[in-house]
């Protein structure tokens, strides 16, 4: 390639060879080098060819580096999983903010993941959500029965294990199903966009991050507030998911598109509403917690008077 592209380098080689043959003791080439360098900016053709000549050298190094990076260790070694933690603090922050504020047209995977899916975000967001649900559920339970002397508050630790099971299975099995579905459709219809399993897990994990502030808001025992936060959270996380998978489904059969999109949204809604129903019991209809302190003496009075 050098001989084809760059006349200057070819010349240099030739002259050096001649010089060496002529005089073995000759010190070579410093003058030629200077000429080469000074001639580079002068002619644009030469410059372009120089750059093109440098390219193979640089791209060889780059290829070596890249191939070193992409070398995949077998999945039973530690290094395989270390690949998914190759992430920095500001990356995680960007990804979480990106999932909290979906922008129309901005595909989460293409905008934020950029072929570097990580397992740190999904795992710790799910864990935080599990503990947030358990703690908020306990606090909400406590606040609801606050004025009631008859009710003894007991911290319910079963909530942790149930919440963990629900959330982690949502964050792992739904992506698995979706990935299998995309793979199946990919065989039938040639799609331009295909996502790897880790990327789908990553999107699902980060889309759950909007529920953490929602769950903290559920502590306040107002039904309307809880439903409003569910609706908002559902909109945000649902839109992140739908906008991410839209390019992959766009070219498909309309029925499949509708079924998949509604499936994604429905499962998300099911998780949110299910968590709310199970962990946060409804306050008594018509009674706000503040009123319960006043109502209990009347209840006691009624009990005394009735035979």
């Amino acid at each position: 390639m050098a001989s084809k592209n760059d006349p200057f380098q070819f010349q240099e080689f030739d002259e050096a060879g001649d010089l060496l043959e002529a005089n073995r003791d000759a010190v070579t080439i410093s003058i030629e080098n200077e000429d080469l360098k000074s001639q580079r900016p002068r002619s644009t053709v030469g410059f372009a060819q120089d750059a093109a000549d440098e390219e193979p050298l640089i791209s060889d190094d780059r290829e070596e580096l890249l191939s070193g990076q992409k070398k995949s260790a077998p999945f039973w070694t530690f290094e395989y999983y270390q690949r998914f933690f190759d992430i920095e603090t500001h990356h995680v922050k960007e990804r979480i903010l990106g999932s909290l504020a979906p922008w129309p047209g901005k595909n989460f995977i293409q905008a934020y993941l950029r072929k570097n899916p990580d397992l740190y975000g999904p795992f710790w967001i799910c864990t935080t959500l599990v503990f947030a649900i358990a703690i908020s559920g306990n606090i909400a339970n406590f606040l609801q029965h606050y004025g009631n002397p008859g009710h003894k508050y007991t911290p319910d630790f079963r909530k942790v294990s149930i919440a963990a099971t629900a959330i982690f299975s949502y964050a792992w099995f739904v992506p698995l199903g979706l990935w299998g579905l995309l793979l199946w459709r990919n065989n039938k219809i040639l799609n331009l966009v295909s996502y790897s399993f880790m990327e789908i897990v990553c999107v699902y994990g980060y889309s759950l991050s909007v529920y953490i502030p929602a769950v903290v808001l559920w502590i306040l025992p107002y039904e309307w507030l809880r439903w409003v936060t569910i609706a908002v959270a559902l909109c945000l996380s649902g839109s992140v998911l739908v906008m991410t998978f839209w390019p992959a489904l766009r070219d498909d059969h309309p029925k499949v598109i509708i079924a998949t999109v509604s499936g994604i949204v429905l499962l998300n809604a099911l998780l949110a509403v299910g968590c709310k129903m199970y962990f946060f019991s409804k306050p008594e209809p018509g009674k706000e917690p503040g009123l319960m302190v006043n109502s209990s003496p009347t209840v006691k009075a009624i009990k005394v008077t009735s035979p």
């Binding site: 530690f78 999983y81 270390q82 998914f84 933690f85 992430i87 920095e88 603090t89 500001h90 995680v92 740190y120 795992f123 710790w124 864990t127 935080t128 503990f131 703690i135 306990n138 003894k152 508050y153 007991t154 911290p155 319910d156 630790f157 079963r158």
Partner: protein, 228 residues
């Protein structure tokens, strides 16, 4: 003939060698006494049992002291041990028993649950730190995380004493203050030991799980309510 004579009687040739005066030969020949005394120093088989136990207790106590006054030191990392974490974990789990929910089939943490949360949580945090490329070893990290539970254990002892006097609003406020202070102390102590082992652009990623871990333990301590 002379050769045969020399061969038959060894060292005969040496008697003919003379060292001239011009080349002084002097020096010391010392036999290194290392191996034999090293064996004696490390052989702890003959020492009294009290000495053995006291040595380990002193090491554990030294580490407790370093957690109480955390400054950037490598004392916990250099010679790690898991006795301290085990002791603290058992104390914490025992003190969290005897709660009001204990008699029912639900509610408060069972002994095994506390154990699992502490050890499984420490292992997960250590794995996370190693996956992020931390330079700390597995057991060193377990050691640090376990020892830094000590402020929270002390908070639990204080909480139980405060609860003896009643469980109203005032006692709740006092317990909240104590648990918050000890949670901050634990997190600060563990970051003082663990911070140097991570790259600066991933420090927050490695510290956040530690924060979550101590928060959950603090929560368990705060919500402990005694049997009436």
């Amino acid at each position: 003939m002379a050769l045969a004579e020399e061969a038959s009687t060894p060292f005969v040739g040496l008697s003919n060698v003379s060292i001239s005066e011009e080349i002084p030969v002097e020096g010391n020949i010392t036999v290194p006494a290392g191996p034999s005394t090293r064996d004696d120093a490390f052989s702890t088989l003959d020492e009294p049992v009290k000495e053995t136990i006291l040595r380990d207790l002193r090491a554990v106590g030294n580490k407790f002291f370093h957690v109480l006054y955390p400054k950037r030191s490598s004392a916990l990392l250099r010679d790690w041990d898991l006795w301290g974490p085990l002791l603290l974990c058992v104390t914490l789990a025992l003190l969290l028993q005897g709660g009001a929910a204990d008699s029912d089939d639900q509610g408060g943490p069972q002994f095994a649950e506390v154990f699992v949360i502490i050890w499984f949580g420490s292992i997960v945090i250590t794995l996370n730190s190693k996956l992020l490329g931390g330079t700390i070893s597995f057991f060193q990290s377990l050691c640090v995380l376990g020892y830094c539970i000590m402020p929270l254990t002390m908070a639990l002892v204080v909480c139980r004493i405060v609860l003896l006097s009643g469980s109203g609003m005032v006692s709740f406020a006092v317990r909240l203050a104590v648990v918050t202070a000890s949670f901050g102390w634990s997190t600060f102590a563990s970051t003082a030991f663990l911070a140097d082992s991570q790259l600066s652009n991933r420090k927050a990623l490695a510290i956040y799980p530690v924060f979550l871990f101590y928060f959950v333990i603090g929560w368990m301590i705060l919500t402990f309510s005694p049997r009436n």
